[in-house]
Amino acid sequence: MEYKFPNDLKYTLTHEWIRIEDSFAIVGITDFAQHQLGDIVFVELPEVGMAFERGSNAAELESVKAVGDLIMPLSGEIIDVNKNLTDKPELVNLSPFIDGWVLKIEYSHANEIDELLSAEKYKQFVQNEEK
């Protein structure tokens, strides 16, 4: 199976992607993750203003067959959520890196960014998982 791994994004071992902007980060699940879940039919989003530690569950993505967690890749506060997913959860399948983004985080520990994976490293990890 061929998956997309955009080079300008950071990744986690739990299959989130992160686009780092100046003081905030946009987060979604990777192409690999949406393929694994299959048709996504409901996204449970957190409330804007909630704060999470890195590693905690921030959103749930429900497919026909399974539930996937979106794990906070960085500690911080939720400053926006993709409300389009409420009526069109399938955007996560159709466009995981653009229209299917899930959260915006105002991150509180910039040093955590250094621990995120590059596209190359994440791709290697996925290829090992596929074996």
């Binding site: 199976m1 299959g38 048709d39 409901f42 429900e62 497919s63 409420t86």
Partner: protein, 361 residues
């Protein structure tokens, strides 16, 4: 996954890009491209399902009917040659060994199709009750392959390939015939809530029959769609709606428990009592009022007390909403009753609704 069994269609599934999973010890396709697309294909034209993981037994001998009357809860007197019947085998306490379909080919020759996860248990259970009766049971599960061909266009698509008049094959009837010179057993049965057929044949014909069915335009559909289709149609899945702890009466199969006057059968005393007096638990249909997805084992509450649990739940691609089946205390089982379902740490609103959610057979 290395010790899993492979059906004759294993390579075919891989070529089609299926995601393979372990189901009851078999490599099976859960989906090819999209469960929703496969589901909707079956509702709008036709789908092909590999169901070769299911078990297939032949029961032969002078006492077959007498034997089945003793181990099955449904009444064999309702059968005639070529007709099939859905039934359950139960334990003495009324809980279910397995649910299955058998076809009377002749009064001394029956074909039985059982759940994949129960093949060995069923075979041993049947053998252990033969006693002095004249009956021989053969397990053909691995020697034959099985496909389901389901959907509103199943008749139209299959007719040009088959040497019988399908319009004469009534629901739950079966026959032996040929698909493009390959001998098959075919029955008008299914597990999707659509018109359609279940077809069984020797493994050597697997490729030719699959290709003929695929060329009709029908869409290969995996176990994911099979499950979402049967949930909409409210067909029980062993281990969920019925099991070795849930009786057919609790699961709403009162019609299946037959009086069979003058005939003793396993579980009869308990089941007839439950049928007459009712049970503490009842299977109901659920609609989720709040947004979310309900899944098996989620707990159900009324007035802060747990009153039951979800047996199967999920997204209905046909109705585009969340549906489920649940086993709850009978006193709360009236249609329209509002209740709460615990999803992770939240209690979401739900309502008891009439079933099935969808059927077009």
């Amino acid at each position: 996954m290395n010790n899993l069994k492979k059906t004759a269609f294993y390579e075919t599934h891989l070529k089609l890009g299926a995601r393979m999973v372990n189901f009851a010890g078999w490599y099976m396709p859960v989906q090819y491209e999209s469960i929703i697309k496969e589901h909707l294909a079956v509702r709008s034209y036709a789908g092909i399902f590999d169901i070769s993981h299911m078990g297939e037994f032949i029961l032969e001998g002078k006492d077959v009917i007498k034997f089945l009357q003793y181990v099955m809860i449904n009444d064999l007197n309702l059968l005639e040659p070529s007709k099939g019947q859905y039934s359950c085998m139960c334990y003495e306490n009324g809980a279910v060994v397995d649910d299955l379909v058998y076809y009377e080919e002749t009064s001394e020759h029956f074909r039985m199709i059982v759940n994949a996860s129960n093949i060995e248990k069923d075979y041993q259970w049947l053998i252990s009750h033969i006693g002095e009766l004249d009956i021989k049971i053969t397990n053909l599960s691995l020697k034959r392959s099985r496909l389901a061909f389901q959907g509103p266009k199943a008749d139209e698509y299959l007719q040009p390939l088959i040497d019988i008049d399908l319009s004469k094959l009534k629901r739950f009837y079966s026959t032996h015939c040929s698909i493009k010179d390959s001998p098959v057993f075919i029955a008008r049965t299914g597990y999707t809530g659509e018109r359609g057929f279940e077809i069984s044949f020797k493994n050597e014909f697997a490729d030719i029959i699959w290709n003929e069915l695929l060329n009709t335009g029908a869409k290969p559909a995996g176990l994911g769609a099979r499950d979402s289709l049967r949930l909409e149609a409210c067909y029980a899945l062993y281990g969920h709606e019925i099991s070795d702890t849930i009786t057919p009466i609790e699961a709403g199969f009162s019609w299946l428990v037959k009086p069979k006057k003058g005939i003793d059968y396993i579980g009869k005393d308990v089941l007839i009592k439950q049928k007459t007096e009712g049970t503490k638990r009842t299977l109901v249909g659920l609609n989720l009022i709040d947004r979310g997805i309900i899944r098996e084992k989620y707990k159900i509450y009324k007035n802060n007390n747990q009153i039951g649990f979800v047996t199967s739940g999920g997204y209905s691609p046909t109705l585009k909403k969340t549906i489920g089946l649940a086993l709850i205390e009978t006193q709360y089982s009236q249609i329209g009753t509002k209740l709460k379902i615990k999803i992770r740490d939240k209690l979401l609103k739900g309502e008891i609704v009439s079933t099935p959610f969808y059927r077009n057979v």
